[in-house]
Symmetry: C2
């Protein structure tokens, strides 16, 4: 077992949350390529160097602490959601730092550390790790825009003075990522650790109903084509039809809704909304897609609406490496006997990108009340330390 130092680990976690601190609880506002994000990455590079690693930025803003020779890579991301918690990504990054440093101090196995850029998807999803793994082409990514119209090319130019080369993936024997669960299962069960079996697949698209913009006082109800009402009917319809298809882990969300022109006194002409669904099985994702397309088509047909859908983003489920899973399970049982489980990850993580290149595995610690992507996100410090100790034990069996 690598002799990690829990106090140093917690102190570094709290230092990292000062970058972009929201002033609301422990929340952070540190989206990829923002000033606090870049400052946090410069601080991380200094920590890596102090730990005896070679610090290096790559051309897309991911920051690396490289051990010599072949090594196990441990890390996550230090960018946050526009309104994010202090642990989402940050926990895995500081775990990587502590494990790499403690291993080096104790003459243990070679461990490298990383914080990938823009996992939270200002420019897509898991942008930094997807480009590094080859899942996304750099030239194509440069044209992507955030919601305000800033391109990825312009955003990464803000870190040009720091950028080195891309790191050669061949130097790593595997990737290990610790993360908060971001869901309620461990917290509800009073468990300390989740050993991830696979990362669920995601389907994501935008749906637009086009009706007829008109005066809200003079247009009789029977003559209206109101796309907000179409969206409401669609939501009820799919919820009903999903019932016989989904599992308790399946989720679907319309988190973005845009109504045009958006005035009290105008029957809207257009409603665009996001439709995202996640599940561990490709087959179920496909069946849900069919239900969604059928329901939208029926609502449009019945009400005389125009219907358009964006291209579908499809990320397939990603299984975790069996050997690394076994090492995590053994360590979890040793550190928290009877207080751990195997589970899916409902969230996407950088590990999914890296599975293209090397064996990957993940473990979770509990999220209090299951809250994440919000300032209120938190985890008991005892659980954070237990997670670090599980990793310290498992790593010995991985290298």
């Amino acid at each position: 077992m690598i002799p990690v130092q829990p106090d140093r680990f917690l102190e570094n976690l709290h230092t990292l949350r000062q970058f972009g601190a929201s002033g609301v609880g422990k929340g952070v506002v540190r989206p990829g390529f923002s000033d606090p994000d870049i400052a946090a990455r410069e601080w991380l590079a200094a920590q890596y160097a102090e730990a005896g690693l070679t610090a290096q930025f790559d051309p897309v803003g991911s920051v690396w602490g490289l051990a010599e020779g072949p090594s196990l890579l441990i890390g996550s991301h230090s960018d946050s959601q526009p309104e994010g918690g202090w642990l989402d990504g940050a926990l895995g990054v500081i775990c990587g730092l502590e494990l790499a440093r403690a291993a080096r101090e104790s003459g243990g196995p070679a461990i490298s550390a990383v914080s990938f850029q823009d996992e939270e998807g200002r420019f897509g999803v898991t942008t930094g790790s997807r480009i590094w793994s080859g899942a996304t082409d750099l030239a194509a990514a440069d044209g992507l825009e955030d919601v305000t119209g800033v391109t990825f090319a312009d955003a990464r130019a803000r870190m040009r003075h720091l950028a080195g080369d891309f790191v050669d993936p061949a130097r790593f024997t595997g990737f290990l990522e610790c993360h908060i669960e971001q869901g309620p299962w461990l917290d509800e069960a009073g468990e300390a650790v989740g050993v991830v079996t696979d990362i669920v697949g995601i389907r994501d698209m935008r749906i637009t109903f086009t009706g007829e913009q008109n005066h809200a006082g003079t247009t009789p109800m029977h003559r209206r084509k109101d796309p907000v009402q179409a969206m409401a009917r669609f939501q009820g319809l799919i919820a009903d039809r999903f019932r016989n298809v989904v599992t308790p882990q399946t989720v679907w969300t319309s988190g973005h809704v845009e109504v045009h022109p958006g005035s009290h006194s105008i029957v809207p002409g257009r409603c665009t909304f996001s439709m995202q669904w996640r599940d561990g099985e490709k087959d179920r994702l496909d069946r849900m897609e069919q239900i969604i397309r059928d329901a939208a088509g029926e609502v449009a047909e019945a009400g005389g609406f125009g219907l358009t859908t964006s291209d579908l983003i499809a990320l397939e489920p990603v299984p975790m490496d069996a050997g690394m899973q076994a090492a995590l399970a053994e360590a979890a049982e040793a550190v928290a006997p009877g207080r751990w489980r195997r589970m899916q990850s409902g969230a996407l993580h950088d590990a999914a990108s890296l599975a293209r290149l090397m064996p990957v595995s993940m473990m979770f610690v509990p999220s209090i009340r299951g809250i994440s992507h919000a300032f209120e996100e938190d985890t008991a410090e005892a659980d954070l330390v237990a997670g670090l100790q599980v990793m310290a034990r498992a790593v010995a069996r991985m290298v």
Copy 2:
């Protein structure tokens, strides 16, 4: 009958639509106090002067063409919706100009003309006429903000160099407003004129469901408090319960929907939407309010949502003057025999403000396919001219 000149009237209508022309059909973008709105009002002032009237701006940007002595006031508004049509308001303003000019040229009755400011409600509803009529206090209005945060005080300061005093209402014997119907009834029936019996009452509020912002991948459906789903359920519930309460003329609309934080991968924490309903009877408006409040409360209770509602804006139904109605009906039958009807106005108009001060009346011409508050808004030129002729005939009986 006042000898109006249809060609001059149509030419002026087309000239007015050049101010803020959208470049899409005949549409205009001329919201109150915008550059094109102010330019249009300066052009109108010049037309009033040329017609032999005394042109005057008041402190809130309404522009007047005043006849000497007691006079009938005819007009409407020349500001437009953010995406508006060329006739909404403009028709009544140019009718006023033509009737005042033609009456003066022919030694007819004294007619004054007006274009009220901000009827379309950048700062509330029928802002200019409500302040003039005393329905809204000027000092209070100065604090009102548009959706971008500009105050009414700052907006009207843009016209300070033009502003004169408020006009004394006592000089007017009544107010007559011609307007496009903005609904489909006349167009569907192939009729030329609507004599307005009353302007419907309006209730308007914002409803907010507050749920729990969370991760869209890791939060199980049974643990979610998703306010977009609450809004969708609410819409279905009220539509169902309204069935036994409403008439074919009753309308309700949620034209504005705002979802926070509005990301594909986040279960939203908050959904705020507008709820507006209109009907000719106060009693029915009250019954609908009760259904709305009950349904929102039940949805919130069942799903564990927070529920807040804004103050309710309540505008009561306004009856038109019986004598002026009779004059319009007689003129309509003379100009378009058998092709006119008495009808409610589902839209609010400046006439509703002026009813506090003097007898008021309104008449409608058809809107093609009932479309308004959109670039596509239009009316056949023959119907525009017929409307002008009905007014020219009716005015002789009003003064």
